[in-house]
Symmetry: none
């Protein structure tokens, strides 16, 4: 089940973002263990160190804790903290840029809705 990696971003960041999305989505729940570094590495066909780097970032961001010799576990509150932080980041940083870009490109609502509904069927 090899996922396709984009070339414009390091794999470890893409993996980290996938895991964050899974936490937000409730696919991975608080208190649960993440799959082991070696397992993700095997599943996604990447080097264990690359996977490990993604996990280390999650620890740094306070979403995951390391239990020595046992593995990595999703912390309590991780979903809520993550959701809040991502919402804030989106609304305060990304969204204004998007609005500016839409305005620059002179796009109107109709076009946006069409593009959204046309593509959003997955």
């Amino acid at each position: 089940m090899a996922t396709q990696w984009k070339n414009d971003q390091p794999i470890y960041l893409q993996l980290k973002e996938q895991i964050m999305a899974m936490i937000i989505d409730g696919i991975l729940n608080e208190g649960e263990a993440l799959p082991s570094v070696r397992k993700v590495a095997a599943d996604y066909q990447i080097n264990p160190i690359t996977a490990s780097k993604a996990y280390a970032e999650l620890v740094d961001e306070g979403l995951v804790e390391k239990k020595r010799g046992l593995g990595m576990f999703i912390l309590k509150g991780a979903r809520k903290n993550l959701l809040n932080a991502e919402q804030k980041k989106f609304l305060e940083q990304e969204w204004p840029e998007i609005i500016k870009r839409i305005s620059l490109l002179g796009l109107d609502t109709k076009q946006l809705i069409e593009a959204a509904t046309g593509k959003n069927k997955d």
Copy 2:
């Protein structure tokens, strides 16, 4: 007037995008000359090679032409071509991603409008 460069994108791409925005916006008009590589480099406090790389990309994309000994000039039709290409790219690639992200974060229309109107005053 040192512009702040983002760290997550190469400077030359950021410069290129600024120039493209100025063309779309009508700040730079077709037939006009771009400021010289040396001038932008000085204005923006960057390496001339970096500025030159941004210009080279504009040439590659058919928006600008180099006239030997005279400088770089914005081609006729540049604005229209650019606008079309950017609109297409936005609607087909970026916008669907944005919609997906909004849905993942569970943001509602009200929040989006507030964030947009609050920030969109420049």
Copy 3:
């Protein structure tokens, strides 16, 4: 009564050091039995193997002896030997490092005394 384990040191070493401190402090006395591996493991919420590793180190260092079928017992002279060894280690290895660090950080006696008296009430 779950003790908090530091993340920068193995649990088995932290446990060992706690026991050594209890011997020096006279909380555990020579000739007495240590609590069973299973009991410490349950009390401290750790893996029995981890507890067992701490005990094994104490045996290696000649502070404790294993009596088959009976448990682990603190040896005669354990307190004195331990105290001497730890004093030597502290004065010869740790203390010079501390002095160097204090000097590097430019801390003066007043600050040290304040910090010591403020915290040393337990």
Copy 4:
């Protein structure tokens, strides 16, 4: 000029601490460039990635900034911030532990002064 690395701590952390000490000491000054990753790697006979990991931590802690394609530079205020943070950490976390240990070991001032003056001649 191969430095000796301790075995009880990863090399990249030891390197990071050496650099931090050099900043506090004024051997490396704000605004200056750090030696390149490849240079330290060669000087200290370590793998470039190991050196790079030390530098990455310094960036994470806000002491150093990365200038794309140019190298790593010590930020303004790095020395002051570092000094404050390290002093606070020492006084609030390390020093109380040390006091507790001295008290546990029953060491008196005379012994401490002797050990300090005997060793502190470098």
